[in-house]
Subunit: 399 residues, 2 copies
């Protein structure tokens, strides 16, 4: 827990639930009769409501992007590195909105919610939601907030995919699209890793075809394993060599140990946990499996797999961008092997082909896909500068 | 099954078990009182026994490297692409020996064998064996065969690690070491993937702490999942894009679909198997889990994790190579991200530092780590040429 709130934090924040009584028709053709969205906002909306920034979250994120819910919180929100007074997404300049996506497990309607039609948890009956559906519900939230046009929609990873969908489907509703560590669609390898995660959850004997809440059980092992696999793909090989190779102090001159630090100084010659990296994965998996809903995890991976904005345009993403009407910023990280720089360059190329205005940054960073959540200096500087220019334009337009 | 045996196959072969009554002290300090090794040989040993080649197998391999056990076999041995008359490892020139490693599940003593001291399956009581132990047992086999010096010891992946251990520990017993798609030791990322595999097996409720045979069960789901993860790391992202992107026929000009071919032409909007790559992984996992022992899989991954020949030399691999006495060939594949070319270059650099004679080939190949098992033309050509020179030297030395 923080002894005091850091000066560059938004401080104590309180999420708010928005109820939507109007039905939402999903891409699957299923209809959600009504739903809730759990939302956090930071900063103040200006008088002409032109300084709104929407943050879209990734696979395991939620509405709690920044600040603390109480003084006993051990950690701030998931994007504390980028959101706060004086930070890249400067809450002194912008009104920042972040929500838990539909199908989530942090307060918005999802598999752990009660289905009003049955009085029981939705569980596995919660429909598959897509990036398109999320953005549709985000537009409803935007309307409720009285915002006509976002100054920017921003997000990393799966969040960046929502950004692209915003630009394509609602061209008049945003001025800027900031897509960080994204991809135009998943590759077979990406899908394969997701399927391993799903398979580990659905074959856990405690899964009960998704009805674990009704059964009073929980597929903890399956979810833990899913997260362990996921976690490997968020880190780079080189970052892991440093993180788990601390016994090598002089990394340049010593022989690198490739991240092979042992837990107890010697090998067990048994099936025990020998290496630090194994303990770390167990810890990450454990912690995640205690705080996340398995059905939500399944949904989120399907939303990732299904995302393909070019699908309505004969597979040609540049055609999908033809009617967009915002400026774009794309950022990628050199060591990200989940969504490597070439995936962002594909998006950039198709934006250029469509004649769009694009700023593209390829950041040298060792931390892999996770870099988008970390205070990598060049990344933060460039991101800050871009958003400052947006704010300057808002001021210029108003005067 | 083959309708007829291909002309470049070794044809019908029969494995043979060799029993060793002498105890084997393992690196763990445990002792195997006696053991069997299951062996296949191809070709003829020459009169001065100088044309022997030892093949070391990888994680899921065994003694059956080439040919067929019966006319009803659906597939030949695992290295049919490289072993046979006129092939890279030419059985008309060499006497080729391949064995199932200790701890395996294809006939050599391992967890599925009966422990003579208890009359029950070894199961989880089978000791952890290391690459060093394997090579030690391979020397005993060599002595039994009456071979003083191998013309070459060859292997890919974990097999390549055994090759390095041979060169370091038994410098007078081999003339050439051919290490393909190997690494000097695993990185944290490699270990992490192995730990995911182990965790999926050991948390399967049917694992029973390794006593599944005694319990009459089998951790099929855990082993299936382990193989699914492993399989992703054997393929490259680009190979998967081609393999599962066949609906794109004009790969250059069409928009690549990133390997996103669907099973049934449309998305299920459920938790069904949507993409071809998912079916493929299920199939591979299923097939493997029906034919492999879970305790063996655990052992093999530990042998991989533990391998580190520099450990006795202050982490300096070049010192480990100081007393080697053979020539080296190293081969790596451009798209192999499990053991990428830079891992082979690390070995090459330390061999050069130690003043050894090294031939190194970096092969452009799209197939990832699996390339070492496939008939990649430049690879086969170079490998053939190297072994032909070895054979020429054998003839020259004899005359």
């Amino acid at each position: 827990m923080p002894e005091s709130i850091p000066i560059d934090s938004v401080g104590l924040v309180k999420p708010q639930a928005y109820h939507f009584e109007e039905p939402l028709t999903l891409r699957s053709a299923k209809v959600l009769p009504s739903f809730d969205l759990m939302v956090e906002t930071y900063g103040e909306l200006n008088s002409d409501k032109s300084n709104g920034i929407l943050i879209c979250h990734a696979l395991s994120g939620d509405h709690h992007a920044a600040g603390y819910h109480s003084m006993s919180d051990s950690k701030p929100g998931w994007w504390e590195s980028c959101v706060g007074p004086g930070k890249a997404i400067d809450t002194q300049l912008f009104y920042v909105v972040c929500l838990n996506n539909l199908g989530g497990c942090a307060g918005s309607t999802g598999p752990t919610s009660i289905n009003p039609q049955t009085g029981k948890h939705y569980g596995p009956d919660f429909p598959i939601v897509t990036v398109r559906d999320w953005v549709k519900s985000q537009v409803m939230l935007m309307d409720r907030l009285g915002i006509k046009k976002w100054a920017a929609v921003v997000g990393g990873s799966l969040g960046g995919m929502q950004v692209l969908r915003w630009a394509i489907s609602y061209p008049s509703r945003l001025a800027n699209a900031v897509c960080i560590a994204g991809a135009p669609k998943l590759s077979a390898q990406n899908i394969a890793f997701n399927e391993v995660a799903r398979h580990s959850i659905t074959t856990d004997p405690n899964f009960h075809e998704g009805n674990y809440l009704e059964e009073g059980t929980y597929p903890k092992q399956g979810l833990m394993l899913a997260r362990m696999v996921g976690h490997i793909t968020y880190l780079s090989d080189s970052a892991m060599r440093v993180k788990f190779g601390k016994s090598v102090t002089d990394f340049e001159n010593d022989r690198a140990n490739f991240g092979r630090d042992l837990r107890s100084g010697k090998l067990s010659f048994g099936l025990n946990t020998d290496f630090q990296v194994e303990s770390y994965l167990h810890y990450q998996g454990e912690r995640f499996s205690e705080n996340f809903d398995a059905n939500t995890y399944l949904l989120m991976t399907k939303a990732l797999d299904y995302f393909d904005p070019a699908v309505d345009f004969d597979g040609d993403l540049s055609k999908a961008f033809a009617d967009t009407n915002c400026k774009f910023m794309l950022i990628s990280f050199s060591s990200d092997w989940r969504f490597p720089p070439e995936r962002s360059r594909e998006i950039v190329n198709d934006l250029l082909k469509a004649g769009r205005e694009v700023t593209y940054l390829e950041i040298e960073a060792d931390q892999g896909h996770d870099a988008f959540l970390l205070p990598v200096p060049r990344y933060i500087k460039a991101f800050s500068a871009y958003l400052k220019r947006i704010h300057q334009k808002i001021i210029n337009d108003a005067t």
